[in-house]
């Protein structure tokens, strides 16, 4: 544990001295929090769908998939807000994917470019400690930033006077599972993917860009949700957690193979 702590401390001391990393870590959560707050604030203070019940919206074909069930008990306006907020909550879940890539790309490829990995690997630290340390150093700030911005978002909902029904939906088990459980798992997947990419490229920016392809499957989920192909409910969230946890374990295993000392020293160019 002590060695893992040392690695995390070292990573943070180094990575957070890079302005670009700090900027991304601050700006992305801030944007992801402010934009939905502004939009919800505007919607809460207008009467979009106010006189229409969710049933009527469903009959008119305005509610995709199982949204009727999700909107049960809500006003038309609240239902519209829920429909919109789902997209932003999905964006919130994208944050743990986006943020650690930036850190991991600099922490791993950066070590390659400065050739500081060899002296580090020559210490008594185990490969697993090093890998876990590097992984946590990237995951903790990303998850922390996501959780903090989610908390800020929920406080903001009260300030912009969003109805209790919408707030209850956001703080319901589906999204709590998504943000608190699925988010960290996604972060682990992202870091391991960045690690894999790092073993193939030698420029942190390239690692960041290539690792960015992880967003595409996520965008697919957003589009599928918009098209009504899938509905984000607790069942979907639990299934996603199981699938992503399996992927994370697989990628972690792959990561330990890639992070073999000999591979790093002799094949990472």
């Amino acid at each position: 544990m002590k060695n893992i702590r040392t690695i995390i401390k070292k990573e943070w001391a180094e990575v957070f001295k890079r302005r670009v990393v700090v900027l991304i870590m601050l700006l992305v959560p801030l944007l992801f929090t402010l934009i939905p707050l502004v939009m919800l604030g505007v919607m809460s203070n207008t009467s979009v769908g106010g006189d229409v019940s969710p049933e009527m919206l469903a009959q008119s074909g305005s509610l995709p998939g199982d949204m009727e069930a999700v909107c049960a008990g809500l006003s038309g306006n609240d239902c519209m807000q829920v429909m919109m907020v789902i997209q932003f909550l999905l964006m919130f879940m994208m944050m743990p994917l986006l943020l650690p890539i930036t850190i991991a790309a600099y922490s791993i490829v950066g070590e390659k470019t400065t050739r500081s990995l060899e002296p580090l690997l020559a210490t008594p630290i185990t490969t697993l400690e090093l890998l876990v340390g590097k992984c946590l150093a990237a995951v903790i700030p990303a998850v922390g930033a996501t959780w903090a911005s989610f908390a800020l978002f929920n406080i903001g909902l009260i300030l912009v006077k969003v109805s209790p029904g919408v707030r209850a939906y956001i703080l319901g088990p589906t999204w709590l599972l998504g943000i608190l459980v699925l988010g960290p798992i996604l972060a682990i997947i992202a870091v391991n993917f960045a690690l894999y990419v790092s073993s193939r490229v030698s420029d942190p920016r390239m690692a960041e860009q290539v690792s960015g392809v992880l967003i595409f499957p996520f965008m697919g989920v957003i589009l599928a949700q918009l098209a009504g192909v899938i509905t984000i409910n607790i069942k979907f969230m639990l299934l996603s957690i199981v699938v992503c946890a399996l992927i994370a374990v697989g990628m972690f295993y792959l990561g330990t193979i890639i992070f073999d000392r000999e591979n790093i020293l002799t094949k990472w160019k």
Binding site: K10, A13, T114, R115, T123
Partner: protein, 346 residues
Amino acid sequence: MPASVLNTLQLHRTVRLGEPMIKTQDLRKIFKIGKKQKETLVAVDGLNLQIAEGEVFGFLGPNGAGKTTTVRMLTSLIRLSSGSAEINGLKVGVDDTEIRRNVGILTESPGLYERLTAEQNLRIFAELYGIPEPEKAINKYLSMLDLWDRRMDAAGTYSKGMRQKLAVARAILHEPKVLFLDEPTTGLDPEAAKTVRDFIDELKHQGRTIFMCTHNLDEAERHCDRVGIFKQRLLALDKPSALREQLFGRKVVFHLANATSEMCAAVQALPEVKTLEKIENKLLLSLDEPEKMNPVITRVLVDEGADILFIGEIKQSLERVYLEMIRSEDSSQTKKINQSVERNRV
């Protein structure tokens, strides 16, 4: 170089300073290369070494000879393909974590955390090595290596020499029994190189075992008890002076006032004189034991009427020994390749 000389050199005489601290037996490293990893590259081929406790060993060889690969194997950074190696009785490939705790390594490139200060750089390693009083060790080595005044500056702002000194401090911070130094003074200005060299001397006096890869033959000669000339395999292993003697014999020069052909003939008639070369008024002789033969030769020359102005021994540089060895190895490799091509043709 005659094959007999090379064979003699490969007898690998051991200087017995203490118990072996580093021991290798038939150590081999084969890398799989190529896109499909089907080709192989033999980086180290059957290395047999015994380095005693407290010995400073110079590992000489050209670029790509396999020196860094050997160091990486001995510091448990990469696996052995075959053979065995032990560091202070710990088996490489078995006691790897313990080996890493017992050795210090100065890598080819300093590999510092450039955005962190010298103190932060050392603190990370002090923690990873589990040093009981990190502050004391950090302060000690920062002072010893003249980095104290700049300890709070980012390593990225350091000159090349300062970076190397910081890397040396990092390697020695946990007081390892064995120290591996890969090109410790390469690219340093004379002043920084001197600081590092003096520090190596200090470590030598402390009785640490040092395994030093270097291209700097003067450095090897100055610090090392023994040197090994290496190119995939060990070509020679002995004290620098012994290598010189074995390869070139000992040469003595007699400066005369008036060297004549009769004098040359009289000296050459002595069976102990292996070769004689006359350069103006100087006689250059190859002898096995100059201490024994110099008085005899002096008498012969005086009997022949020579006025002897000066007698001295000519020392061949280690550089010449090294170049001879490497050239000889290269030509034998070329010969082998040509023979193999010839055989394939037949």
